[in-house]
Symmetry: C2
Subunit: 359 residues, 2 copies
């Protein structure tokens, strides 16, 4: 069954809480059979709680791991039958919490459902959306965990330096499109983006890459040698696997590697083994990992800075929005097929009319 | 042919320059057939040069890579027929260099031979031995490149913190025995050494390890969990392979890994692949490599500090000395068999009588 047929079977509607649940553990990329659609009455908020109506849901590779019960987020693993975890943007439509009146926009761990009751405690990692002048969809992207991933990974974990030769894989993806622009802000001398296909390569060059490598049609090791003759100073890794291997072979002295994601590895049958990690030795290199939720304490600094960059045009948020809650499973699949450009998200309901619309 | 029979065939003697050369590229651990013994007239120093008489030669795993022509030191690869590269301690026995009178002791890239002429230029990476109160053999160990590896790896690359739970593999080896004692100096809370065999484990506990894991008879992953219930803060890696994998599985937040050596990987037929390097992500971990020759500019700081520690008894140099230049190939083999305790070196000639002997 293809995704279109599958999505077409269902229709979310107001007045009922539609949900996507884990039907079975995925093997390889997700398939329609891995998802179950359920409908429940809208939950009723208790004192202190609010009822949220989902506007946008973001998609991220970690969600496949939630479905497999293999994520390393530290939260309890999900079981077959659970509503799939995920973050998004929602509007308060009923409030028993004086701090959050009806109409307020929030972002947080809504899950794959069209309504949710929340007590808005810190454990639920909800945040109020404080940028009414910007599209709310951004809270499921540049002003959400995707943005914080790029910000914390690049600026905090990565220690970028002016004049760096910076290479970014998954450069056309949700985090990659932001890191490309952050490298420009940080004063990289040369920015090389790696992406799949000529269209994506053109796109990332428009976005700020000096050079682009199409890993589907070019030899990445060969092109890295040509484009970075003095070696790579900074590599932001969104993909792992052979591309990480190729970058390790071509490092400059004191190179830094940031491990953000390894999407090329997630759906393999046999785990990928990195054979040349010892290349860090000859160049005094560092490979550092980070996890976005370890950086939540910098939320206000991050959102303030990111919103300023967006307003100043220094960061153009790139979003790949699918329409309709029915399309969530198909949207997740797109990530592993490398189809998305920018942050993959799903519009569950249109944005409400606001004082001033983003132009 | 065993090593004893092989070594017994040859006899170094004064008045002739005896050499060990590459007879063929080693496959797996080195074998007698990989080495060729040659004899040449003693070379004659020109103006500005000195003639050196070899006293000690150090052994290091990189020498097998020299023999294979696969080292990443940046120097030209060695060919079959070349005198094998290596560092050691020598005495000036003839001088056409007014700065280096006869009797002076130096350390440097002598190669596997009993005499050498040197211009003592920086390119040859020779240093004068400035610690006449300490055994000269130490210049082929704690006060040589082994010591600088431990010092640069642990203190410069590794950023140790007081209170760290520190794990050291190859803890009974040349670098490991020093790092164990450096971890004590740096104020580690718990020091866990990993070594092969009960005897080595006892030895490293005497040297300063709070706990020891015998990788030959115990499950390293299991023991690490038991001994480091809050995770590893600092892992000094001398071995790579499965032990690095096990440490990655058991990291504490903000853990640091220093990549010094990967002796468990060098002689494998299929290269080792590190499947869980992404564990660095959840803990904001860092894996950093270093190469000892990148730190030569700190030579004086290092030798001054190390000599002070040795004199104060804070670092007890551990040396595993084989007798006779004939035994060099066998001594190299010991490294890959895990037989050495401390720095493996070879006494080519006895130390000269000095003003004050080390007690």
């Amino acid at each position: 069954m293809n995704w279109e047929t599958f999505s077409g079977r269902y229709k979310a509607r107001d007045g009922i809480n539609c949900q996507w649940r884990i039907a079975r553990r995925p093997v390889g990329n997700v398939r329609p059979e891995d998802f179950e659609w359920t409908e429940e009455p809208i939950p009723v908020p208790k004192d202190g709680e609010v009822l949220l109506e989902t506007m946008y849901l973001g998609l991220a590779p970690v969600m496949r791991m939630y479905m497999m019960g293999t994520d390393r987020t530290g939260d309890e693993h999900q079981r077959v039958g659970d509503v799939i975890r995920g973050r998004g943007v929602a509007r308060v439509i009923e409030s028993k919490n004086p701090d959050l009146p009806v109409g307020e926009i929030v972002q947080g761990a809504i899950g794959w459902q069209t309504y949710r009751v929340s007590s808005m405690t810190p454990a639920e990692k909800f945040f109020r959306v404080t940028t009414p002048d910007l599209p709310y969809s951004l809270a499921a992207g540049a002003l959400g965990m995707n943005g914080l991933s790029a910000f914390a990974g690049f600026f905090i974990c990565g220690e970028p330096k002016r004049g760096d030769v910076t290479v970014i894989s998954g450069a056309a993806g949700g985090v990659g499109t932001m890191v490309v622009q952050m490298a420009r802000i940080a004063g990289s001398r040369t920015i090389v983006g790696i992406a799949g296909g000529a269209e994506k390569c053109r796109f990332i060059k428009d976005l700020g890459c000096d050079e682009a490598i199409d890993y589907k049609s070019e030899s990445v090791p060969q092109r890295l040698k040509e484009l970075c003759p003095e070696g790579i100073d900074f590599y932001f890794d969104n993909v792992g696997g052979e591309i990480l291997t190729a970058c390790l072979e071509n490092l400059a002295m004191n190179a830094r590697i940031v491990l953000c994601g390894s999407i090329s590895e997630y759906t393999r049958e046999t785990p990928f083994g990195l054979t040349n990690y010892t290349r860090l030795r000859a160049v005094e290199g560092k490979m550092a990992g980070f996890f976005v939720y370890n950086h939540l304490h910098r939320w206000e600094e991050f959102t303030g800075q990111m919103a300023d960059w967006i307003r100043a045009g220094k960061i153009k948020p790139v979003q790949d929005i699918v329409e309709g809650f029915e399309s969530m499973p198909a949207a997740l699949s797109r990530l592993f097929e490398g189809k998305n450009v920018g942050v993959q998200c799903c519009r569950v309901r249109p944005e409400p009319v606001r004082r001033k619309l983003f132009d």
